[in-house]
Symmetry: C2
Subunit: 104 residues, 2 copies
């Protein structure tokens, strides 16, 4: 299992456009067999600072995500909206739950 | 919806005891009607640095969690194992999934 928290800083004025574009990625990822969780969050204080909590079954699942049409379309749309390059933090799973019920 | 990432630094040599104690909190929280997600993670590089990704329906649900027997029992067990005081970071939900299928 592979867990990451991706940090995404969006240019001022681009928040709504970003969320709509990232929705493509969220909805697509949640259909992927190798994805377990995909939550888009926002910083408590900065409305343009986003985080994505992502759980993948393994490295191959993350590779498949990055090769997907929905991921590539989303990246194409959001790249011009970035205030800085995206960064991420990786975690090891210890006591982690599975997929959301609404996916099945 | 209320989302937090709690940081927990454990004293060297206490990792296994901590995970066992925190399992009480994880399993208990996942039975709470107001809890939506409860994942215990570990830092990629530091085996004694833990994080808990927690989603609660609202403030009242988090209050109910803190009043629960499993939370209080866990805190009682882990307090002597702490390397520093716990801290947390709050997030706003943007595109967030629901409860894990195995809960229903």
């Amino acid at each position: 299992m592979l867990i990451q928290l991706v940090q995404i800083e969006v240019l001022p004025g681009q928040r709504e456009a970003f969320v709509e574009a990232f929705r493509i990625n969220c909805e697509g990822a949640r259909t992927e067999p190798g994805n377990i969780r995909f939550d888009l969050l926002c910083d408590q204080d900065d409305p343009n600072l986003f985080y994505c909590y992502e759980i993948f079954a393994d490295e191959a699942a993350l590779d498949a995500h990055r090769a997907s049409a929905h991921y590539r379309r989303c990246i194409e749309l959001i790249n011009p909206m970035m205030r800085s390059s995206r960064s991420k933090r990786m975690f090891q799973p210890v006591l982690v739950e599975g997929r959301a019920a609404e996916r099945s």
